[in-house]
Amino acid sequence: MEAPQLYDPPQRSAINIGQEERTFSLIGGIGLITFALWRRSAISIPMLLTGFGLIYRGMTGNSSLYGALDRNTAVKSNPANVSVPHQQGVHVERAVTVNRPVEDLYNFWHDPVNLPQVMGYVDSIQPIGNNQTHWTVKLPGGAKVEFDSEVYTDTPNEVISWRSLPGSQVENAGSVRFRPAPVGRGTEVHLNVDFVPPGGPLAQALLKLFGDVPNQYIAQYLRDFKQMMETGEKATNKSQSSGRKEAVQQ
């Protein structure tokens, strides 16, 4: 009998400081404490605290500041091979269950030209051959982002994975997996997206400040996808009548 599976969310290692940096932190911390104890002046207490902080940082390899900035100097990867380096960038994942056979869902996703129908802000996706596509995204506020993407895994009715090609304005990678839901409940669709927001660690920190904006986008994509697949349309209250001034003056 198969052991029951526990839900195991993807986790990042707590260690986000590289080895050299950890050594420097340890040496610096010991130095500061020694100096503070030797001087015993007004600035000794903050120096002691900083010293202990550096030792803690060096011993555990964890920096909460780096965590907040999504910065990680512990992992080195070769950016030539991957779009989003391991344990870097923003990771979003979300699932939805759609009351349709897996073939319908896979076929919709397999033809990338369909995706702008369910992906707000994605203006167009054009095939450029060789399993590659050119994406144009119009962000709120009018900024336009373009990148080329390639599908590198495509197993019918199971999974499609893609990654951006070198030179993209937004490095990103993702996958969509299809799994049968229990009898009569349709098909589970699991969407994973990783991306490196343009603008470096500061922009990433800002993105975090605004909560889970990327998460909300992905959730909306999946809601719209589900609506399109189940009903053939997206529920909307846009451009309907109301007693508001702008509507009345039309």
Partner: protein
């Protein structure tokens, strides 16, 4: 067209607004012949429904004739006379297929907001705040009906508007409330409130085989209408309700209880004043005064059925009484679509004539004064029917 719009707490007006248009392939446009003010519209009128926006067209009980159909609507044609369920449902998702139409996965365009509030989003509703989709309502001359292939139900020509209009909400809502009581022969059902939904719950409980129905209110004309529906009545201002129920049921208590009051309950006990204050200072959003008493009065192993609307948080719910008496709770917005055909059959067979509940029938333009009359229970008002296209 003329339409009733919400302009703020206690402010309802009739405006000239643009006519609705087909937006999606499953939409239809209905020219409205009859529409009503619902008790739940009063929650919005009184400012207890969050996410209303000034200018929203309200109303969710309406019927009329199809004047335009979307490209994917195959089962309706221009001229069809239809009633429109107040819950908007797609007919294709897991919930719709199960018959849980008011829990439709796909009909709320503002599902993200509803998920944040409730975990998962229920169906969109006509004219009932942006949390439930921000759809324009039906107290108007025309309305756009999304998913009209399942959201418009053709009614027989021999039945009048007044006989069929309540299929849109209050008849199915009262019926589902009684059905949720899981009535067995010999059962006594106690109903809190004698408003329009309660009136249908009383009559539905008898249709479903209840032995006795006991109705509780304080407004004489509402108690009288309940009595005409076969209920024994209790005026809660004149007697202690749990004591009276205990005596009337030989010490057993009612087998099931229906809270047909909801979030703006009125009461006479100390807890009512507690709720008034707690609601004012935002310690709770809804006043569960009637619900508490119903839980307390219900017999052991009984059922608490809740057609009355709740939106947010309540305080001092007697969970110990509910747990230790092993009560079952059944609640939720009505799965209207499911009841349309069977209840139409009841009307056609003459087992019930829903028009009994109407006390006022006026042109649409008189809606603002009628909201006030209905809320303040003046002039014997129990149910207001509005007629678009007639002059005030």
């Amino acid at each position: 067209m003329r339409a009733v719009t919400w302009q703020g707490t206690g402010k309802i007006q009739v405006d000239n607004v643009p006519d609705p248009q087909i937006i999606n392939p499953h939409d239809s446009i209905v020219q409205i012949t009859t529409t009503c003010i619902c008790g739940s519209d009063l929650h919005m009128y009184d400012g207890y429904i969050p996410t209303m926006e000034r200018g929203d067209i309200v109303g969710h009980e309406f019927m009329g004739r199809i004047v335009e159909v979307g490209s994917e609507v195959k089962n309706l044609k221009v001229g069809d006379r239809v009633v429109v369920p107040f819950t908007i449902a797609c007919g294709e998702c897991f919930y719709c297929k199960l018959g849980l139409w008011s829990l439709c996965d796909n009909s709320n365009p503002n599902a993200a907001a509803a998920e944040a509030m409730y975990g998962y989003s229920p169906a969109g509703l006509f004219g009932y705040s942006h949390l439930f989709g921000g759809y324009a309502g039906g107290q108007a001359e025309y309305a756009r009906v999304p998913f009209s292939n399942v959201g418009c139900f053709k009614v027989p020509d021999e039945l009048t508007d007044e006989q069929t209009i309540f299929l849109t909400d209050i008849f199915p809502t009262g019926y589902m409330a009684a059905e949720n009581c899981n009535i067995h022969s010999g059962d006594t059902v106690a109903v809190w409130g004698c408003g329009p939904v309660a009136q249908f719950a009383i009559r539905s409980a008898y249709l479903l085989g209840a032995e006795r129905v006991i109705a509780i209110d304080r407004i004489p004309e509402r108690l009288e209408m309940a009595r005409k529906g076969g209920a024994e009545v209790i005026n809660y201002e004149q007697m202690d309700v749990p004591d009276a129920l205990r005596e009337m049921t030989g010490g057993r208590g009612p087998d099931s209880v229906i809270d047909a009051v909801g979030m703006e309950a009125h009461g006479t006990e100390l807890d009512y004043w507690y709720d008034r204050i707690a609601q004012q200072i935002r310690l709770e959003t809804d006043r569960p005064t009637a619900l508490r008493q119903a839980i307390q009065a219900c017999r052991k192993g009984g059922t608490v059925s809740m057609p009355g609307v709740y939106g947010g948080f309540i305080d001092k719910l007697p969970m110990g009484a509910a747990f230790n008496k092993g009560l079952t709770f059944k609640m939720g917005q009505t799965h209207v679509h499911k009841y349309l055909a069977p209840l139409t059959e009841h009307i056609q067979q003459g087992r019930i004539d829903p028009s009994f509940v109407i006390t006022h029938e006026v042109p649409l333009d008189r809606a603002p004064e009628m909201y006030k009359t209905f809320r303040d229970k003046q002039d014997g008002c129990i149910k207001v029917v509005l007629k678009p296209g007639t002059s005030a």
